[in-house]
């Protein structure tokens, strides 16, 4: 409207022909200039690798490049499905993912509900400050701390076990302990941080609902159950969808750092396998196939869970 003055002089037909893009380009050309480098970044560092994933269906030859290498169809996928590692990787990746979902997902919700009930502002603040803090530790430091505390010779946990007459446990090399350590150290580090979102959702609940329930004689637990939890359900659903979508996307970093030759049996996951065979072993095409398999399953799960959420409830990602 502001720029209407010059265009009124022109014949009507020309104005009508101009597409909204051209109009926006004329008016906001500098905004387009601003965002072009970011678009270029996404195309180069995210979409070109998606195009480059075709090496999963080829035999990559460095001198021929990605596009020049010969096609081999599903050879690498078949090799992966038939390999001794396949079921072990699926079992571990899925096992850690499900374990993490079962334990790591509800705890922050519980924590948020508990913090929300605290009346003393100072105590509330203290709990929040302390539980958020471990989020800022690096994975290296977290795993380093695990090792300090769980060392069979000097770790404090084994000192306590010995104090009660037990035999020291070599937690970090024992395959049976791996998943539990992985999940609970994650809970220790992230529960506070993950509770922030739920706390925010809880503050958005209309206080009048609580007032009305109080008048009707509802207890605290009743009010949590019938007001607070339904109030944050949309948030829970969204985060649940995202979490299930990444169930096979178990992060590389922590698993890799906690991994050693002795616990490999239960700690080898798809991402560490891709790293070992691809980056260390330079089997690019094969590892790209393993990685693509993983990405497709993840994406598929996300789409399915989102579909279910949209059918059952009203909340969904898209």
């Amino acid at each position: 409207m502001k720029h209407a003055t010059p265009s009124t002089a022109r014949p009507r037909a020309v104005t009508a022909e101009r597409s909204p893009l051209v109009k926006s380009l004329r008016k906001n050309w500098d905004l387009y200039l601003l965002i072009v480098p970011v678009i270029a970044y996404y195309i180069i560092f995210h979409y070109i690798p998606m195009y480059g994933v075709q090496i999963a269906f080829k035999d990559f030859i460095a001198s021929q490049g990605i596009t020049g290498s010969p096609w081999v169809g599903l050879k690498h996928f078949e090799r992966f499905f038939d390999s001794y590692y396949f079921w072990r990787l699926i079992k571990n990746t899925l096992g850690i993912g499900l374990y993490e979902l079962a334990v790591g997902f509800p705890i922050p919700i519980l924590l948020a509900l508990m913090i929300n009930e605290v009346r003393s502002e100072r105590f509330k603040k203290t709990v929040q400050t302390v539980t958020y803090a471990p989020h800022f530790l690096s994975v290296v430091v977290l795993v380093g701390m695990l090792m300090m505390f769980l060392s069979p010779q000097h770790g404090i946990v084994n000192l306590i076990i010995r104090l009660f007459g037990g035999d020291p446990v070599s937690f970090m090399t024992e395959p049976g302990w791996f998943k539990t350590l992985y999940v609970f150290s994650g809970v220790w580090q992230q529960m506070g941080w993950s509770s922030i979102i739920y706390l925010a959702a809880l503050t958005g609940i209309d206080p009048q609902l609580h007032e009305a329930a109080k008048v009707d004689g509802a207890s605290r637990l009743h009010r949590i159950w019938h007001i607070n939890i339904p109030g944050i359900t949309p948030t829970i659903v969204i985060l649940l969808i995202l979490n299930i979508g990444s169930i096979l996307g178990v992060g590389f970093e922590k698993v890799f750092l906690m991994q050693n030759n002795l616990n490999m049996e239960s700690s080898d996951v798809i991402s560490t396998y891709v790293y070992r065979s691809g980056i260390v072993g330079a089997q690019y095409s094969f590892s790209a196939a393993v990685g693509l398999f993983n990405a497709i399953i993840n994406f598929g799960m996300l789409v399915i869970v989102n579909f279910i959420a949209r059918k059952v409830g009203q909340t969904s990602l898209w």
Partner: protein, 285 residues
């Protein structure tokens, strides 16, 4: 009754989270042999600062620290500029194509080509064994673009921008003179998120850097905290290892404290900002 149980449970939780942190601080200023023998439980014993002295005379650690500072400053700077460059246009309703561009960005959250194609790309671009391999592939994060865009939309009155436009003020000047000065809280959040990510990162350094002198702090920490421990647990030849274990043990705790010092110092000041940032991201994500 309800309050009492709730408080007791939260206090227990508080102790559970705090104990490891307090222990590391105590162990870092205690005599290493007392720590090894399990005499340190909560409070330090035989106060000493030899651990810290060893950290400050260890060349690997100092160089790693310096490298990390450079990578963090440069990386965060690029992150902030790129985030604003994407978030501001996307926050404007009169920016035609904003939905298409947002979709282009957001899709990368759900699907990616995976590690190997990305690795080959970085290799082809000649960034292997340079610090750019740690900075450019992580130039911007979509989640942060969304948070900042939402902040711009909700907190900067559109009327102010429109009246500046009427006065013939260009978009870039509106961004620099009006929008950014009003966005300091969100800039603080972004600075925190990005700089912590750079400070703690080790994956890109692990796969792209071959030259030890370029290693960031986290890779050096990995050697001290994790690889030395693995040897301790796997090898049975304890005689020759005893001394090196003692050495590693004495600096372990101190190096954890030093490595987290910048974040620990910033944390209390930034707390109210990052909660705000998380909330903005959550509401409109």
């Amino acid at each position: 009754m309800f309050d009492a149980i709730n408080h007791v449970l939260l206090l227990l939780l508080l102790a559970l989270v705090l104990y490891p942190l307090v222990f590391v601080v105590s162990a870092s200023i205690s005599n290493p042999s007392a720590v090894l023998n399990g005499e340190v439980w909560l409070w330090p014993k035989d106060l000493t600062i030899t651990g810290y002295q060893k950290v400050f005379t260890n060349h690997d650690i100092l160089r790693g620290y310096l490298n990390t500072i450079v990578y963090t400053l440069l990386g965060t700077g690029i992150n902030l500029v790129m985030t604003v460059m994407a978030a501001y246009p996307l926050s404007r309703k009169d920016f035609y194509g904003r939905n298409a561009v947002t979709a282009l960005f957001v899709f990368t959250m759900f699907f990616s080509g995976g590690l190997i194609p990305a690795y080959l790309l970085v290799k082809n671009l000649g960034m292997v064994n340079t610090m750019w391999a740690l900075i450019i592939p992580n130039a911007v994060a979509i989640w942060n673009i969304i948070i900042m865009r939402t902040f711009f939309q909700q907190s900067i009155p559109i009327e102010v921008q429109e009246s500046a436009q009427m006065d013939g003020c260009g978009n870039i000047r509106i961004l620099l003179r009006i929008v950014l000065p009003l966005s300091l809280p969100i800039m603080a959040v972004m600075t925190l998120f990005y700089s912590v990510a750079h400070w703690n990162a080790f994956f890109n350094a692990l796969i792209y850097l071959t030259d030890r002198s370029k290693y960031p702090l986290q890779l050096i920490l990995r050697e001290i905290l994790i690889q030395s421990n693995m040897q301790e647990m796997i090898q049975t030849n304890e005689e020759s290892l005893a001394k090196s274990i003692m050495d590693a043990e004495s600096i372990k705790y101190a190096v954890v404290i030093i490595a987290n010092l910048p974040v620990l110092l910033l944390y209390p000041f930034l707390q109210r900002y990052f909660v705000k940032g998380m909330v903005i991201g959550a509401v409109k994500g």
